[in-house]
Amino acid sequence: MRHDGGLLMALGAGLGLLVAIWGFLMPTQLLAPTSATAWTIGAAVSVAATAVLFVAGLVLAGTAAPRGLNAFLLIGSLIGILGTALAGCLLESQLLVALMAVCLVGWLLRVLTRRPSF
C-alpha cells in the first residue's frame, strides 16, 4: 500500500537532494553555470532540507504513520517545500525550484487523494 503523492514528493525531493549536493560541492550550480554556491551555508541548508523532505515523502507514501505524525509531516513538508523553493530561487538554481514544484504537486496529491493506491 502506498500514496502516489508521497512517492512523487519523495522523487522530487530525492532528485532535489542530488541537485543540492551538486550545488554544495561543485563550482557552479547544475544547469546554472553563472551561479556559484559551493561550500556555502545556503547550499548546505538546501542539502539538509531536501534530505528531510525525501524522508518525509517516503513516510507519507506509506500508510503506517499515525494520524498525528501524518499531520505534522504534511505541515512540515509544505513549509519545507516552500522554503527550499525560496532557497532555490536565492541560490539561482532553477532546477531545484522546479523539483520543489514537483514536490508540491506530490504534496497536493497526498492531501487531496485520501485513499492509498494498492
Binding site: 553563472t34 556555502t40 545556503g42 547550499a43
Partner: protein
C-alpha cells in the same frame, strides 16, 4: 626648455600610450588618459554571450589572515600567518607579455594566450600590515626605452612597489633586477620619509610612467595620527630612480599640525600638454581637523602639474576642510568633448562624494557649473567646518543627495532597530559633520565612486561609472573613553585613534543586528552619461549581494569596488561586485549580456588586449575585505571560442 629638449619631449609623448591602441593595455588605467577604452571590436554585444574561459591561473599569493598561506614569499610573521590580502592589480599587457603584481609583492610574467609562467620575481618584501590592515597591491608599471640599445638589459622594465616602501625595477624580458636603478634594482622610497615619519611610505599603487619619468605617490595611515608624513609626489628617472622633481602638497608652515594629503590613487597624463593630473587626498587626521587651516589649498583636490618641472599649473579643491575622509581617489579621465560646436579638452573627476566634476583640463575651470552651497556646521568644541562646499547638479550625482531612508524590510526584521537608531543620530544631509552623538554620513568614505574611477568612449563622449550607496555612522569618542571603546574593536573594527587630538572616531556601517543594511537599496549602480550634454543616459543597479550563498535580488545591486572598461564594439566589462561575478554589459542600455563566476570579488580593473589576432579580457579576482571576506589568487582570461 631648449629646442632639442622640446623635440625629445614631443617624441616621447607620441611614443607614450595615450590611448590603449593596437590592443595593448600598458598602464593601470589602460592608457595614460585613464579612459579605460580599448579599440578592439572582435567581442561584440552580439557574440559576447559565447565568451568562454581560455585559461585560469592561481598565483598562490593569497591570505585570509587566519590560515598560513600554502605558498609563502618573503619573511614570515610569527606563526607564519600573514594579514589578509586585497588584490586589485590591473594586469598589464605589453611586450607580448601579461604582467601582474601580487599582494605578496611578486611580479609574474605570463604568456598572454595560455597564462603559462614566463618568469617571476620575488621582492622578498615584509608581509606585515605596516600601513594598511591588509596586504594590498594594485599592480605593476611598464616602461620601454624610446631608443633601446641592442644587447643591453633593462631596455624594457617592470616596476613594483611594496608595503615596506621599496620600489623594484626588473628587466621586462627576464625578470632580473636592473642594476642601474636605485641600489641593485631597488630604490628605498622611505629614504624620502624625513618629516614626522611614523610608518613607511607604502607603494601600493604602481607608478605612472610617462616618457622617461616615473610619477610616484604613496599610501599611509591618515586615521592614526594628527601629524604624520606630508604628502608629496615624486618624479623619478625611470632608469636610475634619481629624483627629478618633487611636488609638496602641504606648505611647510602646517607640517607641525597635520600631514598626509598624499596621492595614493592612480594619476593621468595629457601627453600633448605635458600635464600630470593628481588626485590629492585629505590631510590628517581624517575626521577631526581643528588644527588644519580652513583655507588650506590643494588638499582633497584634483591638481594639474607640469610633467617636466612639477610646477603647479592649477588645482581645484573638491571638498573644503574635509572631515569625512573624502579623499580624491581616482585618476581623472581625460577626454575631448564637443561642446557648443567647439572641442573642449576636458577631464572628468569622479569622487567619493558622488559628484562628477567635468573641468577644462587646461585651466581647471568647470565645464558644467560647480556651486558653493551652505552646509551643516560642526557642533564639536574646538572643531572648524567650512561654511560652504562645492556641489554639482550636472552631470547628476551618482548617488542620491540624501541617504535613501530606512529600508522597511531591514527595519521589520530587526524589530524597528533601524528607525530607532536613525532617530538618535545627527542627520542634516550632505556634509553633516562627525559628532559625539553620531552622524549619518552619506555618501561616506566607502561611498560614491572608489579608486576604479570611470571609463569613457572618446569617440562618443559616453562616460560610464560605477558607484556605491553606503550609509555610515561617524561617532567621535572623547579621548578618555576612546581606548576602552577601541579595545573592543581595533582599527579593523572601524576605530580611528587620531592620536594627538581630543577625539578618536568610530566609523560603523549602518546595519541592523543581523547584518542587513538599514538603508534602501540599490547599494550600487552603474550609470552612463553623455559628456556633451551632461545628461545621464541610464542608471541601473549593478551586481548582486551574495550572503551565505544566497543571491539577493538584482534590483538591490551591490557595493562596488573597482571600475569598468569600455570596448569600441560597445561593451562594458566590469567585476567590482560583491557576488564574485564578472560581467559584460551593453554600453547603449546597461543591460547585462554575459556574466561568469570567479573565485572572489574581482575588484581590479580588467585588461582588454589582442594577441595573435585574438581578443582577450582578463580579470584578477582577488577580493577586498570591505566587500567580503572571500579572497583569492585567481586570474581568469576569457575569449571567444576558436
Amino acid at each position: 626648455m631648449t629646442r632639442s629638449a622640446r623635440l625629445a619631449a614631443v617624441l616621447l609623448a607620441l611614443a607614450a600610450p595615450a590611448a590603449a591602441g593596437e590592443g595593448t593595455w600598458q598602464t593601470f588605467n589602460g592608457d595614460l588618459m585613464a579612459q579605460k577604452f580599448s579599440p578592439l571590436t572582435e567581442i561584440t554585444p552580439e557574440n559576447v554571450g559565447d565568451l568562454t574561459m581560455v585559461w585560469k591561473v592561481h598565483t598562490g599569493d593569497v591570505s585570509d589572515g587566519v590560515h598560513r598561506p600554502t605558498r609563502m614569499h618573503g619573511p614570515a610573521t610569527a606563526g607564519g600567518v600573514v594579514p589578509p590580502t586585497v588584490w586589485s592589480a590591473t594586469p598589464l599587457f605589453a611586450n607580448d607579455t601579461l604582467y601582474l603584481g601580487t599582494p605578496f609583492y611578486r611580479i609574474l610574467a605570463l604568456e598572454p594566450d595560455t597564462g603559462k609562467l614566463k618568469w617571476s620575481y620575488d621582492s622578498h618584501a615584509v608581509l606585515e600590515a605596516l600601513t594598511q590592515p591588509d596586504l594590498k597591491n594594485r599592480g605593476v608599471a611598464y616602461w620601454a626605452a624610446e631608443t633601446p640599445v641592442a644587447g643591453l638589459p633593462c631596455q624594457k622594465r617592470i616596476y613594483l612597489g611594496t608595503m615596506d616602501a621599496k620600489l623594484h625595477a626588473v628587466d621586462a624580458d627576464t625578470g632580473k633586477p636592473c642594476a642601474d636603478f636605485g641600489t641593485a634594482g631597488v630604490l628605498d622610497f622611505n629614504s624620502f620619509n624625513t618629516s614626522h615619519a611614523k610608518w613607511p611610505l607604502s607603494l601600493l599603487q604602481p607608478p605612472t610612467v610617462f616618457g622617461d619619468k616615473l610619477f610616484v605617490g604613496w599610501a599611509g595611515k591618515d586615521w592614526a595620527e594628527a601629524v604624520d608624513s606630508p604628502g608629496s609626489v615624486y618624479a623619478l628617472d625611470a632608469r636610475t630612480g634619481a629624483v627629478d622633481w618633487t611636488f609638496d602638497v602641504l606648505p611647510k608652515d602646517v607640517l607641525a599640525r597635520t600631514g598626509t594629503a598624499n596621492v595614493w590613487a592612480s594619476m593621468s597624463v595629457d601627453p600633448q600638454r605635458h600635464l600630470l593630473y593628481i588626485p590629492v587626498s585629505s590631510p590628517s587626521p581624517n575626521f577631526y581637523q581643528a588644527a588644519v587651516p580652513l583655507d588650506l589649498p590643494i588638499v582633497t583636490s584634483v591638481t594639474a602639474l607640469d610633467t617636466e618641472t612639477g610646477r603647479l599649473v592649477w588645482s581645484r579643491q573638491l571638498v573644503h576642510h574635509d572631515l569625512w575622509d573624502l579623499d580624491t581617489d581616482a585618476a581623472p579621465t581625460l577626454v575631448d568633448i564637443d561642446k557648443d560646436g567647439a572641442q573642449v579638452p576636458a577631464l572628468v573627476q569622479s569622487s567619493k562624494q558622488g559628484f562628477l566634476y567635468v573641468l577644462n583640463r587646461e585651466t581647471g575651470e568647470p565645464i558644467y557649473p560647480i556651486e558653493e552651497r551652505p552646509v551643516p556646521q560642526t557642533d564639536v568644541p574646538g572643531e572648524l567646518s567650512a561654511a560652504t562646499q562645492p556641489f554639482v547638479d550636472r552631470p547628476a550625482r551618482v548617488v542620491p543627495d540624501r541617504w535613501p531612508g530606512v529600508f522597511p524590510l531591514a527595519d521589520w526584521l530587526s524589530g524597528g532597530y533601524c528607525t530607532r537608531t536613525a532617530a538618535k543620530l545627527r542627520d542634516e544631509g550632505s556634509f553633516t559633520p562627525p559628532s559625539v552623538k553620531g552622524s549619518i554620513t552619506y555618501p561616506a568614505t566607502v561611498g560614491g565612486t572608489e579608486w576604479g574611477g570611470g571609463a569613457v568612449d572618446p569617440r562618443s563622449g559616453i562616460y560610464v561609472v560605477n558607484s556605491s550607496s553606503v550609509v555610515q555612522i561617524y561617532r567621535l569618542i572623547p579621548r578618555d573613553q576612546y581606548d576602552d571603546a577601541a579595545a573592543r574593536g581595533g582599527e579593523t573594527g572601524g576605530f580611528s585613534p587620531m592620536r594627538g587630538t581630543p577625539y578618536g572616531l568610530q566609523l560603523t556601517t549602518f546595519l541592523n543586528p543581523i547584518g542587513m543594511p538599514c538603508w534602501k537599496p540599490p547599494y550600487g549602480t552603474l550609470a552612463a552619461y553623455d559628456l556633451k550634454t551632461g545628461e545621464r543616459l541610464w542608471d541601473v543597479p549593478f551586481g548582486q549581494v551574495q550572503k551565505w550563498g544566497f543571491y539577493m535580488p538584482e534590483s538591490w545591486g551591490s557595493v562596488t569596488i573597482g571600475g569598468p572598461v569600455i570596448t569600441a564594439s560597445g561593451l562594458i566589462f566590469a567585476g567590482a561586485s560583491m557576488d564574485s561575478r564578472v560581467r559584460a554589459l551593453d554600453l547603449r542600455t546597461g543591460e547585462v549580456l554575459w556574466k561568469a563566476p570567479v573565485a572572489a570579488p574581482a575588484v581590479a580593473l580588467p585588461a582588454v588586449y589582442s594577441y595573435q589576432g585574438r581578443q582577450y579580457v582578463v580579470f584578477v579576482a582577488g577580493g577586498n575585505s570591505i566587500l567580503s571576506p572571500r579572497v583569492s589568487d585567481e586570474v581568469v582570461a576569457y575569449a571567444l571560442p576558436r
